[in-house]
């Protein structure tokens, strides 16, 4: 593993203060950073440990918001009664991520900064093939090679990778905001804008940039509007547990109350009053289906009614030659998440 010098930060400000120097990395749980060091993905010479900062810990309700400290582990978030009750999709996403022992180390702050699982990217240096993320300008081996797990939205010829985080999908669907601390002080970043697709990054003139977080900034926590609507996180994968998603979907559904009309009394066709839905592992960022969200109010909570709404919202998908199946799979995951969130599945 890469050699480095180490310091423990006493405050979040002190940690941020060290990030101005180049080649300085933050360690919280370390589940990603240590593997980056093994593979040669991170080139840091200094590591600042924020693991002892109690100010970044804790999960609490603050009025209409749920506040989650960046150092809360995935198991802590996933099993916390407040999260289970007020942000169920996030709790579910956390517990479907990784394994029980990884979740005891991995933090919710670090999780959204994990990088793609593209096997061409995650190889030990020196890379035997091109990868623009590892060696800018070298090309994309995945585009020319295997890419059945890659993006169906927002990719470019330079990179077709997807962001694999489960919690990030729920955070985007639930309109969470990241609290961020930088040299100029604190600011917030909406989680639906936190990650960048390759196309967004290219348009901003930084084709390989993956998030809006600055290199000298630290995530200190998240705030989510509390929701009493039904929620669900559906993860589709090749193993039932301990596997990355092929696609996933987070949904939050409020049903129309006392839906009038004779049909409501019978076998009950329930209708959606409001819904939010985001797809995961289809792009380099969580993919909110905003067109569907606009159309869903008044839609019956049935598979037949939901399918065409989701299909229309995904009409701009651009699958690669090998991953057309992901369009169908993501559509079905979104429908399943909406049905489950509405209590119909």
């Amino acid at each position: 593993m890469r050699d480095f010098a180490y310091a423990r930060a006493g405050t979040a400000e002190a940690a941020v203060g060290t990030l101005a120097a180049p080649r300085t990395a933050v360690i919280a749980g370390g589940t990603e950073l240590l593997n980056w060091f093994r593979l040669g993905i991170a080139a840091a010479d200094r590591v600042v440990d924020i693991g002892g900062l109690d100010e970044l810990r804790g999960i609490a309700r603050d009025g209409d918001e749920l506040r989650i400290g960046a150092l809360a582990t995935l198991n802590e978030v996933g099993e916390h009664p407040l999260v289970t009750r007020l942000a169920g999709a996030l709790a579910s996403a956390c517990l479907q991520a990784a394994s029980a022992q990884v979740r005891n180390r991995a933090t919710i702050g670090g999780n959204v900064l994990q990088r793609t699982r593209c096997p061409y990217f995650r190889a030990e240096e020196p890379l035997p093939w091109p990868c623009n993320k590892r060696d800018p300008g070298s090309g994309c081996a995945s585009l020319a090679g295997r890419h059945e797990r890659q993006a169906i939205f927002g990719w470019t010829q330079d990179c077709v990778a997807v962001q694999p985080s489960d919690p990030a999908v729920a955070l985007a669907a639930l309109d969470a905001r990241a609290d961020v601390l930088g040299p100029a002080g604190p600011r917030t970043i909406p989680m639906r804008e936190f990650h960048l697709t390759q196309r967004e990054a290219a348009a901003a003139g930084e084709p390989m940039r993956e998030t809006r977080l600055g290199a000298d900034e630290l995530i200190t926590g998240y705030r989510l509007p509390v929701s009493t609507a039904g929620q669900a996180y559906v993860k589709v994968r090749e193993r039932a547990s301990y596997e990355y998603a092929i696609v996933s979907a987070a949904a939050d559904v409020r049903l129309a109350e006392g839906a009038g009309g004779p049909r409501a009394a019978g076998a009950g066709e329930q209708r959606i009053a409001a819904a939010r839905v985001a797809l995961g592992s289809v792009a380099q960022r969580p993919w909110r289906l905003t067109a569907a969200e606009a159309e869903l109010p008044g839609t019956p909570l049935t598979r037949e009614a939901l399918l065409p709404v989701i299909e229309r919202a995904m009409a701009d998908a651009v699958p690669l030659p090998q991953n057309g199946f992901k369009v169908t799979m993501a559509r079905n995951a979104a429908v399943r998440a909406l049905l489950a969130a509405g209590g119909a599945a």
């Binding site: 593993m1 890469r2 050699d3 480095f4 010098a5 180490y6 310091a7 423990r8 930060a9 405050t11 400000e13 002190a14 203060g17 060290t18 360690i27 749980g29 370390g30 589940t31 240590l34 593997n35 060091f37 093994r38 200094r46 590591v47 600042v48 440990d49 693991g51 990784a98 394994s99 029980a100 022992q101 990884v102 005891n104 180390r105 193993r239 039932a240 547990s241 301990y242």
Partner: protein
């Protein structure tokens, strides 16, 4: 304020109920330290990337991958390895009577080659303590971070449930 970045760091922790102070290079993982410096080779180096679970140890009672944990992150913490399991409930001496989970694994033939067993045992102890050893499906989900390439999963699941029942009955 500037922080001092060090290339050698002194760490004090408890290992299997005994206090230890050590000086390490910051990149030393808990797994490498246990195996190479301390000579406790129960935790195995299977994948060295957090995928197989055979390096699972307890840190402050919570199961973690030793390969994804730095020794410097264990300052002031209490680490338990499979070597500390037998007789753990006694006076802090190792090598005592088998832990109920170890006995359950033996009784249920919950291994073939045994390479994954130390990690399975540590994970099982935590799984039971967490309250997740309630039924077959829950054990399979909450033990999924421990891979057994001999595929002794049915026996492992049975052993974990039996040990959980025994613990509940005490």
């Amino acid at each position: 304020m500037t922080l001092d970045f060090a290339r050698r760091v002194e760490v004090t922790l408890r290992l299997n109920a005994r206090s230890r102070t050590t000086v390490v290079s910051p990149r030393t993982t808990l797994l490498d330290w246990l195996r190479d410096d301390i000579g406790l080779t129960g935790a195995k180096k299977g994948c060295n990337e957090g995928a197989c679970g055979t390096c699972t140890v307890l840190v402050d009672g919570r199961r973690m991958n030793g390969c994804l944990t730095l020794v410097v992150q264990c300052e002031g913490r209490s680490v338990t390895t499979v070597e500390g399991l037998a007789g753990m409930k006694g006076a802090g001496e190792v090598g005592g009577e088998l832990h109920p989970v170890q006995r359950a694994f033996a009784d249920h033939d919950a291994f073939q080659c045994g390479y994954c067993t130390p990690g399975q045992l540590m994970s099982a102890v935590a799984c039971i303590a967490e309250g997740h050893a309630t039924d077959d499906a829950s054990v399979r989900e909450w033990m999924s971070g421990n891979i057994c390439r001999c595929s002794a999963y049915p026996q492992i699941t049975a052993a974990v449930l039996a040990a959980a029942r025994e613990e509940a009955g005490r």
